[in-house]
């Protein structure tokens, strides 16, 4: 489905919903402290540029990410979620990312079934050395979400700030 027409952006899941003209997507990025957060810092130190739509949250390990963080983010503020951790085998906490990987796959497939586009929730492994990769990943996720349009699914209209 073509989400983006000439002058208006519509939500891919809810075509009747048209984005306001100044709409900018919000990506919630949850990064593990040891690999991906360090990698994102390296992106900064090497001044690699990427779109400014991502909001980064630091967690100790990708295994700290409870699936309902993803659900919560999609329901409240985010148009897309990116979760990033250490490459398999590199986990600072030995095996955390292996457990996380299982949860992520199931969560993503479940969200896809209930009507979210698969690009709304994306995952990556970014090591502390992969500053450039982090920039690419953010760019890809942002581009994807821009194409999908605003997310307006099960949004909580007046959640507690």
């Amino acid at each position: 489905m073509e989400a983006e027409s000439k002058d208006k952006i519509v939500s891919i899941e809810k075509p009747e919903l048209i984005a306001p003209p100044d709409w900018k997507p919000v990506i919630m990025g949850i990064l593990c402290n040891w690999c991906s957060y360090a990698g994102s810092d390296l992106t900064g130190t090497s001044r690699t540029q990427y779109p400014p739509n991502i909001r980064i949250i630091r967690v100790p390990c990708s295994s700290r990410v409870d699936p309902w963080f993803i659900i919560k983010a999609l329901q409240t503020t985010a148009d897309g979620v990116l979760i990033s951790g250490c490459h398999p085998g590199d986990c600072h906490y030995i095996s955390g990312n292996y457990y996380a990987r299982r949860r992520f796959l199931v969560t993503k497939e479940l969200l896809k079934m209930v009507g979210f586009h698969g690009h709304r929730v994306q995952f990556s492994w970014v090591s502390a050395a992969e500053g450039a990769k982090f920039a690419q990943v953010v760019k890809k996720v942002t581009d994807d979400v821009v194409k999908l349009g605003p997310l307006h699914l099960y949004k909580k209209e007046n959640f507690n700030r």
Partner: protein, 283 residues
């Protein structure tokens, strides 16, 4: 499939031998030809016990209740029920030596209208996997079949699926009957009820239903045994099995054919991992 007499005899015998304090089984509802679970503490009452293809409920749900907790319990389990029992055993919720389990080689149960239940038609473990005594002729394991509704949903478009589920979540009244009827929802205090969770916020909009049901189904992912107690309990008749069966399918296909509770000591798919787990969905 009628094991009523055998079960009555076994229950009476267990009481007589002093092996159990409580027996959990089925009796006729009294209103119609449907059955309801019954918790028997008086040996004289064993005559009300029945077991036919109308014995639909998963009785392991009663193991978490106060009147059976820490008591010696006799109970009847079908294939699916025994799988949830397996999980309760590994999750230390019940002790094996306190249970006397009558396993049934289940031929499938029927709904109110007398039609065979969908989960029974797709059942792959009809025989009880954990038991002290077995009733009926063993049927053996069958091949895993992807749920027909899931297969059908997969053919639908994104917008269509969204509309379908939006309606489901809108119709949820957040009564939590699904949770109470689920044998594997035994938490001391459910996460949705905890103040810190910010899950519920006191509204029953589609938004909070979405959040609660999604979280619930993810807590049961890799553990749900498809007994459909939740669906039977749901006053809004929501097709809750869709969420569970979707997770089950993804887990079966990706994580070494894992099926909840089939093997002794199984904890569910999220509490172990394999180096060979799929990695291609991650950038």
């Amino acid at each position: 499939m009628d094991y009523s007499n055998q079960i009555r005899d076994i229950a009476a015998k267990l009481f007589a031998e002093g092996k159990i304090d409580v027996f959990v089984g089925y009796r006729m509802s009294g209103f119609d030809d449907n059955q309801v679970p019954v918790v028997i503490t008086d040996p004289k009452e064993t005559s009300v016990l029945v077991f036919t293809e109308k014995s639909v409920f998963n009785l392991t749900n009663y193991l978490k209740a106060d009147h059976t907790r820490n008591k010696r319990v006799g109970l009847v389990v079908k294939g699916c029920d025994s799988r949830s029992l397996n999980l309760l055993l590994t999750e230390s919720q019940v002790k094996r030596d306190k249970l006397y389990i009558i396993g049934v080689a289940c031929e499938g149960v029927v709904d109110d209208k007398g039609n065979k239940m969908q989960n029974c038609m797709e059942c792959f473990i009809p025989d009880a996997v954990v038991y002290d005594e077995m009733l009926g002729k063993l049927q053996g394991k069958k091949d895993y079949i992807v749920n027909a509704d899931i297969t059908e949903l997969a053919t639908k478009g994104l917008v269509e699926r969204r509309e379908y589920f939006e309606e489901i979540f809108e119709n949820c009244i957040r009564c939590n009957a699904c949770r109470h009827s689920c044998p594997l929802c035994y938490c001391a205090k459910c996460c949705i009820d905890q103040e810190t969770s910010t899950l519920y916020n006191g509204t029953n909009t589609s938004s909070s239903a979405f959040h609660a049901l999604m979280t619930w189904s993810l807590h049961l992912a890799g553990r749900c045994v498809d007994c459909r107690n939740c669906e039977k309990a749901c006053p809004s008749h929501l097709p809750l099995h869709l969420l569970h069966k979707q997770n089950e399918k993804v887990i079966y296909e990706n994580f070494q054919n894992h099926l909840a509770g089939v093997e002794e000591g199984d904890r569910g798919a999220f509490y172990k991992y394999s180096l060979k787990d799929p990695d291609d969905f991650i950038m």
